[in-house]
Symmetry: D2
Subunit: 405 residues, 4 copies
């Protein structure tokens, strides 16, 4: 590419010859992005110099973006080492996190250090399944009953059609839900190391053709919101989506005092009154202090879908004063993660996944994504411990004053 | 900085002389970050070369990150021009969006183009207030009643204390909520062009001292989850947090067919069965197709807090077949945005805000953040239109197959 | 009335001369009811002898029922004496409860006895207001903003119109909520000793005329479900409807063991794991064990609206192990009660209200309904204590086996 | 019984010889109840004459009440004939309803009449299962995973233990849910014609012994609120409890105008803006106008558990303008009904069930309770149609003014 090429291209857009989104058809991806920056600079008087200073090949980002102009750069830090005894994750982990919220990394790292002193955390993926739930319309509730019954008896046929579209995914179950003349079918897939939304969508479309052919149901929309993708929804908080994953730790009482500068009792009280009773009164689906902070920062660093932070916030934090220490746990009902596909192949994200140790497909398949889920849940646990400790010793705002903006 | 400096620093950490988070006390920010990359490379065998290729001064990111190693780079594209008749936003807008989800930009841009053809969207901020809700404990429900009554009568005193901590923020209201011996006070602030969480936290801490001094209440936690920050919670969906903002458009029926390749009736049906009935059955707080996608992508590009995508997903999409066209609206109950503070000062984010036209403090104060909210809501509207159209003409998955991963 | 009259009347219905619901126009209420029993007996072959043995004047029930055939008889028991230190309720109370659930009265009474031994409960009405929320449609979100602003500035005018329709009710507030082109106005009234739904509906209709006259808004429905009447809804659980009322008690640890056959720790654990964490995972708006049981039984005995048990279940139970005993509380967010109007004038219901001591209008106005709310909340507290104790000592099912069906 | 006996008994209580709840051990049930009325009259100065005029044998109510003093009498009316094409219900039905809410019967009956003119409603039970969900505690999340896995593999063993306690009930499924160190097991039973709570509780207790014996889990409470009984909870609204039942009707457009005094379009608009969008904004689990009114009135008349009106309000109403008429449906997710046990054997309730045609056990077993569910859902549909029509023609409050209290 030369600047001249980009300027020429920009001129052709200005002249109405080309549209902004068509530039990749007429130039390489770098040139197209440069041309857009030229045009935007002209239209808005703003240079996009730093946005243009991205450190990857524009062509490599084509599966991830259209109308590309460059990249957002978000500061990345690292928390760790974080010792985890997981179902898939094992040993010490450095967790990369990208965020603009001052004090977050420091706070999580304080929790990590506490967990490390306590001998490490335990983590487990408890349930797994990427869902897609098309909505069909039928004649009446009698037909709705018939279609539901047919589906329950023909999950095998639907699996055959669905799995023909994918080399990895497996249909685990299809659950019908009826509202009047609407039939929602919630398909759940094992998508191995992929987050799996697209796989699930494509496979479900094939299965829908079978449903339409064999029953009286008419497809209205391939997603009927019982999936439920990127919306706060109880169905995910209850039944899970992606990974349902939990992490916990037992911290001797004296370590609570030494490392967290508070007491087991104070943390239990803060958790009960804030995370349980407060969230109850708020009509919440998330009963935690700030799990979404860790989920978001890990998602940005590790190439996950930022909009799925929504589901990642369906987390419950519990704390218990046991005889031998403070027991604390975080359970995230619907953490949608993958180590292949999506943004995982972009350079900074791939490096970050490598640092964590779970880039690419796992052995066995699915184990890398399981491990990623376990690490994020443990990171969230660290964040919960640290914030609960800060709140119960009242220095949330002073911490922000020192470290934050 | 020289590599030698970084290596020396790394060695001192290895030797146990320094801790990973203390490096900025012994070297400039660039060197500290480089030292961490050295250490991580050693521990994990992974180069962090691209993560290290960030295009900003490490020192400038100090308010945003600790334990910095570099930056995550997320592809950024642009949608527009998007004509908006807003309460604060006015005219054509180019909306920068950063995402790794293929097809998203293209989809939003199709909606933008439809809105443009229809003559533009209308947008309004309908309510505004950043909240913080500490939880206190009291002796019994009689005391809870007394404390609540005292607070209702002394909002002025609390405002005085709260506002003494800030040059911009104004306390708008304090609402008490009681559960047994827990009293939650939901403070709501006008934080102008700042998203305002930290301002609200610090101001509330000062007000809490007054409450503790003047009543029998004891502070348990400065946040009691009725705020509610970064958790899915009905209180935000109902009462709002940050900006409650709505955008709508009226599209002539023939344009629906020409530009969206479907019909008004089909979109209405998809919206009712999916976004309303489906979300109802899902126990949702978000009645939309994928508003969080646009919120997340705009937040990443524009320096907003990625974890607050959670609240940004509390959105309701409505569609109505009017005589003169398809009416569509998106109302986001709790969109927490700012044009100053947080990540807005980082270089790529600042450039993106400049492209949009609302960087920094507005005139009058608050108008830039209002405008930002209106643009994001309108972007979400574009995304909803496009996805509803795709679903109702059944090509969601094929669009993904072509454009996505 | 004679049987002959009823038979003659029945014949006229059979002959198509009269319709079933018109009988009261042609005979007294007793005869009309008898005629319906004749007709039903003929149609279905079933005698309605016991249904016909009601102990009130049919004419007196005319405000409460149409197409009357008789009465349902539901066994009534009594719990007490229940000592309450309330804002309105004072002293010992016998609480009449009507139910068909075996073991319920016994269970509540065990709790009552525990409360009595502990020196009584404290109770308070914390908030009060009957709501009605019409939905209007407007042109677009700009108009929605204008209408909302107009309403906020003209609450006085709306109050004038609303209060002209009632001798008792006072409009306390009007809160606008916008979703696209829908404007919901939540009117809140002080309805004194009446539950107040009808008063609120009629007053709101008058206020709506003002809104329609003075703004561009068109009324779509006098209730837009943000009221929210007889539906499970977070808005009631958060903001309250009718009375927000709480009751609590402090029980010395040794009394917990003696009277409840368990320990403070066991009850705290059961409450946390079941009522807080379990309800959190269930996506609940009610965080209690069985508050609805007491609410329902008291409502049936005391002439309240049985369908409003729905809102009465928006209750949170908290338990805390204090140094000096087990602290337990129940807070019901939306308990809709009255001591005048509705079913309160029917004979068995009026007697039951008299037993309780709060029949008719209170002095000051509203104090009887306040007291009723406080007693029911305290009864619910008794029920919670007893069931938590039973669960924590594992004899729920054996209690049912002994006492229940 | 003689009055003398009752007075003597009362005296013994006054003298502290007996306790109020022990009277049945020393006299027959009638005398015990009379003695309590004496005592209450003395304590409160209030005669309980009408409460004492109940029309059943006190002894027969012993499974339903303790501390009995008499009965609450609630006016009962009848709606019908209501033609239903159901999975279990068939033909014309007279639906008895007991209520104190004026205008309700008239309103439902208007809907019934409309349904009749349209040729009747269709109804189906779509899912059935009474649930009970104990909560166990375990060591950590690893143990939680193991217990869950064990349960999934040993449902047969649990069924054997559970079913040994009951002659009718069948264990259908056990679903584990984990939150930290809490394991909830949601047992679902086919309880045939019984509502089945007690059956489910007793059977689950037996299964819990197996879980405790075979795994490391410790039972904390036999109900862990994921059941979820008598609480508003999304798990019931989504997955169902008792019967998930739906009813619908297609009404020719001209009949909408003639019989409901409004138009199809107006009803669709009211339903969308009120029941869908309004409930969405309210954070609701019930998307209907007043289904709970019909559920409550039918429950009181037919011997059902009044506190379970809570779950019965988890209903979604949909309306669609089809070419050939107005399609309307009501789907109740969790309607807990039975035709044997509970209050179904009391005289007025048994008569009412007989009028409906579904008293006692059905053939096949379960069909009577299915039919009861279908009739109530259809009654709710009638109520929805009537109220939506009234709202859309604006006469809700005038209807109340004429007919109501």
């Amino acid at each position: 590419m030369t600047d001249t090429d980009a300027e020429t291209l920009a001129e052709r857009v200005r002249d109405g010859e080309l549209r902004l989104y068509e530039l990749e058809d007429h130039a390489d991806a770098e040139t197209a992005a440069a041309a857009r920056r030229h045009l935007l600079a002209e239209e808005t008087g703003v240079d996009l110099d730093v946005i243009g200073e991205y450190a990857f090949d524009a062509a490599d980002a084509e599966p991830n973006i259209e109308n590309m102009v460059g990249a957002a750069q978000i500061p990345m830090g690292v928390a760790g080492p974080l010792p985890i005894d997981g179902g898939a994750a094992e040993g010490e982990h450095y967790l990369p996190m990208a965020t603009t919220e001052g004090a977050l990394l420091a706070s999580v790292n304080r929790g990590v250090s506490t967990i490390r002193t306590a001998g490490g955390a335990t983590a487990r993926v408890l349930k797994s399944g990427m869902t897609r739930a098309p909505v069909f319309k039928v004649e009446d509730v009698a037909a709705a009953g018939e279609v539901s019954a047919w589906v329950r008896e023909h999950v095998g046929d639907l699996a055959e059609a669905a799995e023909a579209t994918t080399s990895h995914g497996e249909l685990q179950d299809v659950e019908p839900y009826v509202v009047g003349d609407n039939v929602f079918l919630r398909f759940s897939y094992d998508t191995k190391d992929a987050m799996g939304m697209n796989m699930a969508t494509i496979a479900t479309e094939a299965a829908c053709e079978v449903v339409e052919r064999e029953t009286s149901a008419d497809l209205v929309a391939l997603s009927g919101n019982l999936c439920s993708d990127k919306k706060p929804a109880a169905i995910n908080a209850i039944e899970g989506r992606g990974r349902t994953v939990a992490a916990d730790v037992l911290i001797p009482h004296e370590q609570v005092e030494e490392r967290l500068d508070t007491t087991t009792e104070a943390i239990v009280e803060a958790n009960t009154r804030k995370n349980l009773v407060g969230s109850a009164k708020a009509g919440a689906l998330g009963f935690n202090a700030h799990a979404a902070n860790v989920v978001a920062a890990a998602f940005l660093a590790l190439g996950q879908d930022a909009a799925q932070v929504v589901e990642g916030s369906n987390a419950i934090t519990t704390v218990d004063a046991r005889e031998d220490g403070l027991y604390a746990s975080v359970t995230i009902a619907s953490l949608e993660v993958g180590t292949v596909g999506g943004g995982t192949g972009l350079p900074t994200q791939a490096e970050a996944l490598d640092v964590l140790g779970y880039a690419g497909g796992g052995d066995p398949a699915g184990s890398n994504a399981d491990a990623l889920a376990e690490v994020i849940a443990t990171g969230a646990l660290a964040g919960e411990l640290s914030l609960l400790a800060a709140l119960s010793s009242r220095h949330l705002s002073s911490a922000h004053a020192e470290l934050g903006r």
